[in-house]
């Protein structure tokens, strides 16, 4: 086992999948000699050549649209969109084609592609580089929407996404790209897409989060423990299709939940999570379900970003409020 950053772990997944299967190829902007602006595809071109690590013209719709064609042909393209804020230029290709080719052709043609894109705030980036718009993709039938939260699960989920028979939108929390290292086994490791994970057990409160919100959520849970409160933490990992089984089981035990995401609040993933909890565990609820989220505004330039992003203090405040009801 080696201790790796998330960037290194993603690189490992790509390298191993490309070695295993010559139908896997990468396409994106600056993914070749540059290794991607975050270096996720670093050195892959040396090993696999420019036919499989394809530097594209600066054209996001082309990246996704060509990937649809490649996937229909039988390849497994992995697209890199440099920042998720530029993925809207390919939204029509994903929504109109990638997500529904299987459905339209009654299973005859499929699009086993992955679209990787870094998302989220907290890294003092330029505007258009910090959004958290997973709800767009999660709202589109026919897509799977995955967001890892650590080097190890990023590697295992990306490998699974590449092998998935359907299109997967893979948002990478760029705030966590190099935030910490974790042991990542060299041997192949896959995680099932569509499964959430309970990463901390507790009986008093359920906290539901994903991606870059996992570290502050875990830190908040740690502080609550010092106050004698045991919080259970569920890491979604897959946003869609949403696995509600663990969260419903958890809230039946705790009766209280805080949902944390940096995406804007209205129509965000939290809204769907709360609906599922209402449907699955209404009679077990002890307090109103609470959201700690970004606001329904453009994410501010970074001098004001801190006030927008959910952090440990805001999570604790919400947790204590719901515990006091």
């Amino acid at each position: 086992m080696a201790k790796m950053t998330m960037v290194q772990a993603l690189n490992l997944a790509l390298k191993q999948e490309m070695t295993r299967d010559d139908s896997v190829l990468i396409l994106g902007e600056d993914v070749g000699p540059d290794g991607g602006v975050f270096r996720v595809t670093d050195t892959l071109i040396d090993e696999f050549g420019p036919e499989r690590v394809i530097d594209t013209p600066l054209a996001e719709a082309a990246i996704a649209g060509m990937a649809v064609g490649m996937a229909v042909y039988g390849l497994r393209p992995v697209c890199e969109i440099q920042f998720s804020g530029f993925a809207y230029q390919n939204f029509h290709q994903i929504e109109n084609h990638a997500a529904r080719m299987r459905w339209r052709t009654r299973g005859r043609l499929t699009v086993p592609m992955v679209m990787r894109a870094p998302y989220g705030g907290g890294v003092r980036a330029l505007e258009h580089h910090s959004e958290s718009r997973e709800a767009y993709w999660a709202h589109t039938p026919g897509l799977k929407m995955v967001i890892p939260s650590s080097p190890r699960n990023a590697r295992a989920l990306l490998a699974a996404a590449i092998r998935d028979p359907d299109p997967v939108i893979f948002y990478e929390p760029k705030a966590l790209y190099r935030a910490f290292r974790e042991e990542v086994p060299e041997a192949e490791e896959l995680m099932e897409i569509g499964r959430s994970q309970c990463i901390r057990q507790g009986d008093d409160l359920t906290m539901i989060a994903y991606g870059a919100m996992i570290p502050p959520t875990m830190e908040a849970a740690g502080q609550l423990e010092q106050e004698g409160i045991e919080a259970e933490v569920i890491d979604l990992l897959t946003i869609s299709p949403l696995d509600d089984s663990l969260m419903i089981e958890s809230i039946k035990k705790t009766g209280r939940a805080v949902i944390i995401h940096e995406a804007p609040r209205s129509f965000g993933p939290g809204a769907e999570i709360i609906s599922r909890l209402m449907e699955g565990a209404f009679y077990y609820l002890e307090a109103p379900l609470v959201r700690v989220t970004g606001y329904d505004i453009v994410i501010p330039y970074f001098s004001r970003e801190k006030a927008y992003m959910p952090d440990v203090k805001r999570i604790l405040e919400a947790a204590r409020a719901t515990l006091n009801i």
Binding site: V68, M70, H97, L109, P165, G194, P241
Partner: protein, 373 residues
């Protein structure tokens, strides 16, 4: 430093071989066997008659909205016949004749336009993509399929179709640009039918031709008389050979005309004159080709009548079969099939919800009928 002219290496041609009276330019006449010519004629006539019959069906309420192809039969058939079985057709939505040539059944077309998902099933032996409704979006798929074909080196090529309106879409630019950068084996066929619903070509682009856009991408482009099946055939033959031999993509602009409405929901009288339409009717690709075949001695009145009758029979049989299929059981729950390879739990629950609801409705209906019966 002085201003110096930049030499543009590529040149542009317009190709026409058959004039409006079916007279051929012998020097340019492509060598095509009698059998092939008659096959072409039959396929064009099938496209035309099927289109006309579908319009009747639509007006009678027997199918829904559809986009007629009338007048564009030469642009489609002169190009599509060059594909081999292992090649790929990536159509837009006004290529019914080309799709039928590739093996799409007439029944499938009728099913699609009458709202049945069964109409976008691609037969197993076929490599093609289903038609694409969002304008121009399929152009990028063609480039991607072409990239994959080149990567796998299986010798297959791609042909994709789009209209003049699609050339204003970003996907057209990105698709052609990438195709040229990667030198993929794709033939881009623009059916320039002069109208994108109500917008005429001159409001779509200030370019003198669509073909010249190819030059900016660094690929060969040619403009052909799209109502002249021999010109389309000859130009596409060159482009297909280039693609097969590693010479990269080509853009072919077929100058044609949408004689009918955009779709059956459209009323072209609101935006164009009957005189203009009538002028183009005189340039009918089928009668011109028929004239040529008669002059060659390949067709006579009896031959025409025989083909006409066979085509009408084929259409009638297909309508009968499609209507039988459409009158049969149509399980609404099939809408939940093929969303993913396997149905995720949340959607499975929704399917169960619909199943129960439908069963309840059926049972209530049964009881009501029982009371009245």
């Amino acid at each position: 430093m002085p201003r110096t002219p930049i030499e543009i290496k590529e040149s542009l041609e317009h190709l026409a071989i058959l004039n409006e009276h079916g007279e051929v330019d012998v020097a340019l006449e492509p060598e095509i066997s009698r059998e092939r010519l008659l096959e072409l004629y039959r396929a064009m006539l099938l496209g035309r008659r099927f289109d006309e019959r579908m319009l009747d069906l639509q007006r009678q309420g027997r199918i829904g909205t559809f986009p007629p192809i009338k007048g564009q039969e030469a642009a489609q058939m002169g190009s599509i016949v060059h594909l081999k079985e292992n090649d790929w057709l990536v159509p837009a939505f006004r290529e019914t004749a080309a799709e039928i040539w590739r093996g799409r059944s007439l029944e499938s077309v009728l099913l699609y336009y009458n709202g049945f998902n069964e109409g976008t099933i691609i037969p197993d032996h076929q490599k093609d993509l289903p038609m694409a409704v969002p304008v121009g979006s399929q152009i990028l798929h063609a480039t991607g399929v072409g990239y994959a074909a080149k990567y796998r080196n299986r010798g297959d090529i791609v042909m994709t179709y789009f209209g003049d309106g699609a050339t204003s879409e970003g996907d057209f630019h990105e698709g052609l640009n990438c195709a040229a950068v990667y030198q993929v084996p794709v033939v881009f066929i623009c059916q320039n039918n002069q109208w994108a619903i109500s917008i005429p070509l001159k409001q779509q682009t200030r370019s003198g031709t669509i073909a010249q856009k190819a030059l900016a991408y660094g690929m060969p482009g040619i403009q052909v008389d799209g109502n002249d099946v021999l010109a389309v055939y000859a130009a596409t033959a060159e482009a297909v050979e280039r693609a097969r031999n590693g010479g990269g993509p080509t853009l072919i602009e077929c100058v044609t005309y949408r004689v009918m409405m955009h779709t059956t929901a459209d009323d072209p009288k609101r935006y164009r004159s009957e005189e203009e339409v009538e002028q183009w009717r005189q340039k009918c690709p089928i009668s011109r080709f028929e004239g040529y075949l008669r002059q060659k001695g390949f067709l006579d009145d009896a031959g025409c009548a025989e083909i006409e009758s066979a085509v009408l029979d084929q259409i009638q049989t297909a309508i009968h079969k499609a209507e039988q299929q459409m009158a049969g059981p149509c399980d609404p729950l099939e809408m939940f099939d093929h969303v993913f390879e396997s149905l995720p739990a949340p959607i499975a629950r929704q399917k169960e919800e619909v199943t129960k609801y439908l069963a309840k409705q059926a049972s209530a209906k049964g009881q009501k009928e029982g009371r009245h019966g």
